[in-house]
Amino acid sequence: MTFRDLVILAAGNLWRMKLRTTLTISGVLIAITAFVAMVSFGAGNQAYVEKQFNKLGLFSTMQVFVEKKGQETDSAPAPKLDAAALERLSAIPGVNLVYPYDAMMVKVRLGDSVVSTKAQALPAAAVRTKLFSGLVAGIAFSGDSSRQAIVSDDLLHRAGITRPDSAVGMSIIVSVRVSTLDSALAHVLTDRGVSLFDRAKKVHVDSLLHAPYRSKVLRSEAGEVVRRFFTGFTDAQATISDTLTVCGVRQEGRMGRLRIEDVIMPVASAKRFKATGFGGSPIEIITAMSNGSIFGSTDEGESRTYSQVTLDFDPKVLYTTIRDSVEKMGFKTFSFAAEFAEIQRVFVYLDLALGVVGLIALLTASLGIANTMIMSINERRREIGVLKSLGADESDIRYLFLVESGAIGVLGTLGGILAGWTITRIVSAIAQRYMKGEGIPPIDLFALPVWLVLIALAFGIGVSLLAGFYPAARAARIDPVAALRND
């Protein structure tokens, strides 16, 4: 008996028992619908995350940073992220661009509002990478010396501006309060009219021969010098302002170790603030003191170090190749490609969990198939006996019943995939409408990739065939003599 004959016979038998066949197919259809809809939800979210990562070029971006003190694994000191390190990082094959994280505390006047926030200096080439391509309004600044800035929508919100496109072209005044070494030293010499000389006159020179007095005087005066120095730094601040034009608005968001501040300005504009002194942040002062830059130029000097550097590399180059090269230099790395591998694992678990629920429904449906086939065998005992008397082999009978259960699986699975897809489209449309209403950018929560269709087909048909195995074997074993007996 050919496969064509088997299919024709099976189709005839299933058609003859329309109601029973329809109900059994419905069981498989519902199970596959549930399976497809649930796994489609996981797949949709996975596709969305992957799309966003691709859109922002996160797969070709890597953060490089210095190992924190205490985390160093060997006795060798951690290498510095300085100009020389940046050059070495630029020389790694596949690396397109290297730029440091260079930020400062600023006050921003935008319209009538003044907001304290952070500003970041970025080269124009960095702003043109995918990472900054998702501007909600305007464009990136044209060059490193242009007097423009990109601001975040969150900053606009805090400044009371609701429409991002209305901010493009607005003037933004960026102010930095800076302290200089000169003001600190001047304050050491004279504080509120009292000079160090005046204080020295109050010291009993003869008593300095006595150790306790001498020790007391030295402790007191050293403390006074330190106090005056810091007071000079913090109190005697000057304000440096610059007026820029908002050229673009980007969406607020911090991703992993990637830090993007509220105001992004070209490197040359940022240099004007840095050339003058130090920002008000005590951390900045302490850092400058610890690396010695407090006594020299800190901007482009060889000794300038950064906490973090971003690499933009060719998407065709494996992130692991870049990572290995960077880590060989002694730096730590963070890449979204590595993070995505972790995220994907989470999605696999999510898909599995959702899939298991669908499979339980499918297993229940398989019991329906087995029941239908066993009922069919009991009703068709004589027919099986006749076919055997006509020359049908056990394998012919077995295949006939397997094709019948397989056909139930195929029809139920195809119907289930179609129904699952329809349901996800309806739910997605409703969800997107709701998101729009809530002001959230609408996203498609579901996806029906080819792999899901193939898995659904494999499970649907596979489980149906498995459900048909026992009834088919039972049918094949029917004794023709007993089946044909007149009783």
Binding site: M1, R4, D5, G12, R16, R382, E383, G385, V386, L387, K388, S389, L390, G391, A392, D393, E394, S395, D396, P480, V481, L484, N486
Partner: protein, 235 residues
């Protein structure tokens, strides 16, 4: 000349609870090619059991069945199926037509397992039904046919594959006199065409009238063999 089919010391025992039923006990018979053999006996005499063993539907407890000298008992399950598909035609008392098939489909079913192409199956089946006067009944289901018509469809199904041997198990048992005569005549004409026929019956007039030879059976044993016209009043 070597018999077409031959049994030697054939036994078929069944177990019914603690008891062993000897359906067939040490039976040795031979069927020659082109012969019309009648197996005559009352109910329970073992003639249907013998027929099933000769057709390869059942396996003996002991003894052998040989087809042209080759033992059927040594054949695999698949070889026995092929033997039934190509060489054996069977007719039953209760017709055993598949109720949801049309007359044509029932006849075509006999050609499903011997490699006949689909178009040839349809053509040969239609021709066979026409030759048996059922041209206008081809699309009818068994439930729409009379007993005589059903048995003629069964005969068509049995012979459409051009078997070498036809086993007929009480083919007239459910038919009236006219239909019985018609079917008996049909079997005789098929035999006249060269087909070997083994008829199981308890009707010794029919056996006497049509068969070349009659094997009488009782309680699972052969009790005698008669040539045509020599069975009168034996049972």
């Amino acid at each position: 000349m070597e018999p077409y089919l031959q049994t030697v010391s054939l036994c078929r025992y069944y177990r019914r609870g603690p008891h062993e039923v000897k359906a067939l006990d040490n039976v040795s018979v031979a069927v020659n090619k082109g012969e019309y053999l009648a197996l005559l006996g009352s109910s329970g005499s073992g003639k249907t059991t013998l027929l099933n063993l000769l057709a390869g539907l059942d396996t003996p407890t002991s003894g052998t069945v040989a087809l042209e000298g080759s033992p059927l008992t040594g054949m695999s399950r698949r070889e026995l199926s092929a033997y039934r598909a190509r060489k054996v035609g069977m007719i039953f008392q209760s017709f055993n037509l598949i109720s949801h098939y049309t007359a044509l489909q029932n006849v075509e079913a006999a050609l499903l397992f011997n490699g006949t192409p689909p178009a040839e199956r349809r053509r040969a089946s239609a021709a066979m039904l026409e030759s048996l006067g059922l041209a206008d009944r081809m699309t009818h289901r068994p439930g729409d046919l009379s007993g005589g018509e059903q048995q003629r469809v069964a005969v068509a199904r049995a012979v459409v594959k051009r078997p070498e041997i036809l086993f007929a198990d009480e083919p007239t048992g459910n038919l009236d006199y006219d239909n019985s005569r018609s079917i008996a005549g049909l079997l005789q004409s098929l035999n006249a065409g060269g087909l070997t026929v083994v008829l199981v019956t308890h009707n010794h007039e029919m056996a006497q009238e049509y068969a070349h030879r009659t094997v009488r059976m009782q309680y699972g044993r052969v009790t005698g063999t008669d040539l045509a016209g020599a069975t009168g009043g034996a049972l």
